[in-house]
Symmetry: C2
Subunit: 433 residues, 2 copies
Amino acid sequence: MPVFLDSTDTDFEAAFGALLNAKREDSPDVDAVVAEIIADVRARGDAAVLELTEKFDRLPLDAAGMRFSAEEIDGYCAQVSDEERQALETAAARIRAYHEKQLPRDERWTDDSGAELGWRWTAVSAAGLYVPGGLASYPSSVLMNAIPAKVAGVERLAITVPTPDGVVNPLVMLAAKLSGVDEVYRIGGAQAIAALAYGTETIAPVDKITGPGNAFVAAAKRRVFGKVGIDMIAGPSEILVIADGDNDPDWIALDLMSQAEHDESAQSLLITTDAGFGRAVAEAVEKRLETLERSAIAGGSWRDYGAVITVRDLDEAAALSNRIAPEHLELCVADPDALAEKCTHAGAIFLGQWTPEAIGDYVGGPNHVLPTARSARFSSGLSVMDFVKRTTLARMTPAALKAIGPAAEILATSESLEAHGLSVTARLKKLNG
Amino acid sequence: MPVFLDSTDTDFEAAFGALLNAKREDSPDVDAVVAEIIADVRARGDAAVLELTEKFDRLPLDAAGMRFSAEEIDGYCAQVSDEERQALETAAARIRAYHEKQLPRDERWTDDSGAELGWRWTAVSAAGLYVPGGLASYPSSVLMNAIPAKVAGVERLAITVPTPDGVVNPLVMLAAKLSGVDEVYRIGGAQAIAALAYGTETIAPVDKITGPGNAFVAAAKRRVFGKVGIDMIAGPSEILVIADGDNDPDWIALDLMSQAEHDESAQSLLITTDAGFGRAVAEAVEKRLETLERSAIAGGSWRDYGAVITVRDLDEAAALSNRIAPEHLELCVADPDALAEKCTHAGAIFLGQWTPEAIGDYVGGPNHVLPTARSARFSSGLSVMDFVKRTTLARMTPAALKAIGPAAEILATSESLEAHGLSVTARLKKLNG
């Protein structure tokens, strides 16, 4: 059973604090191993990657075999059922349409001094996307990472996906193809991250690496950060549902289980204004756990990290939600928009009872790569913005330099940066001379 | 003397590659010390911070003395000359005006399926700004970090600035006041970063930490990343000037020196279409170095990392610039806008000979916190965007769920995430009656 809390209990604050600070993830310290792998790939390139792939994925390859050919990709795509193909196409089209609206605008203006100011956005030239192999090889994640990159205008998008024992997921290949991915390599682990960051004879280096992975992949991404850009390092998934009593307990139970089934470290929380409804949801969860395919995982997550919290009113719910800063926030209340206004820290908000979180995982349009572990306090989900960068622009006229240059001279002197000031002084001398 | 390269030389590619990959920074490994300091501050709070402040800054304080009172701040501000005050006010006003244009817009729309989609931006609640003490205590950096945070809507903005031996820079205090900073603490080093990230009895924790610092501060920021957001870890400063022969060599020499004087690890590069002009600039640099206050630093940087590169034409200049991805790019050519179009990787571009880079350091308006070490390939300078985060919004209607829900059910099944699918199925069952 999960924890049951009530905000009117005298020990509520302590219990809620404990819930908030519970460490859900054991991060094994693989940093030393990862450092060695990266150094090896930097030193020996393809040879190192091939050896490590044979060792970890039991897959003997030569350099030419690292990359999937277009024919191979088409062959795998042909194995996908029509039903699945159409579903992936629907998802891709909706994700693309949503992300196209994120493309930022350039700006340029002239201010009172006559100075022209502005900025310009340009795409990252080359990006790499890590796709996990095996069980966690999700075609939906390929769409969610690759489509924003291509919408941003990334010219070269490379995927690495390990294929342990040579097993390939045809849906991942189709998702890559639908997203416009340019290169797909059958490698994984820290060696794939190193190859993307530093390049090998076969794989050209990229400028940015995104995508989920295991502890080795996460440690490798941390290590290559700076040499290339990375997205955030995701923790276990979370959902917070805020629901009043006017909901079907089974729907809410399923929404909670849809996070819990990801991972035993996932966290599913319910905040409700109706204690009886909270109990009914907990009962519905138990019933569903009897038959769910992944009940061991979902049940473990729910038992260890789940909670049902009863509050006095929705304002209190919003205040608690802001302390949790949930990755996914589902608002199953009569006026979800009004409540959303008060919930200022959340990765994604799902408004109303017809919007189960799972819609957002696949076909809603918004990205499903979202900030975990309370990082929605300061960061956002993956978007087109992760694949573009801004260059600021400034152009002084002689008149503008006359107007604002003297202030720069004074501040440069204050900061003892003489050449800074002189670079302005020399020009003003010409203008005033 | 700097390196002189010519793109028509047979060994140019090797020499340019060496220049590109030169490691300019010795990062001392202070990670173990920093880990201890952070653990100490987490365990003992104020007591640890006060001990470390006495040890490193030779400043005995009690908890009440950690924070500057409003009266103390006003006292320091009163010491600033009118001339300096006006210059700081000019800078603050221009930086604020520029950054106000960066505020992102919320979006909300209804698509063909009837689904309502969109996103919403909200400010980070609390931010901390690290300001170095001593020589590198730059009031301009306070403006550049604090104003974007306040424009974004950050409610609580705290500064930490070490005051070794109790020495305070009045201009830093005035910059903080002009920027609307809420709290100023006289602490520094890794202990200040730990206090901002985890909080102490006196200092409430923040959600995001920005600002430059020494190796200890940088290591501490890396360590607290995840618990809080951080800005990038800046490397030594760089400038690339692309100039044709129609410029005053002394102006360009001063622009190069205005980066070189920051730090012996700074890098100043000139690319020119006119070899004779390149030599004239190098001569002008030598002449200026005879008298510059910081000639030891500027001369060291120029000798060790400076370069004058002659190219065939401006297209070649742009191609080299994109490989360098400079932090600062000055375009002193007849049509700087046309050249800027081709220079796609740069932190900030300064257009035309009347726009010395130093203008951008103080009063131009754009931010002077910019991506170094080639990271302009994948990242941007500091902006309002660093202090806001985006929440995606989705609201399905029953009709929208009917239209797109089945695709989600199919993909959930493909990914073996049964509860994901069932959360949609349960709702569709009700709709389909």
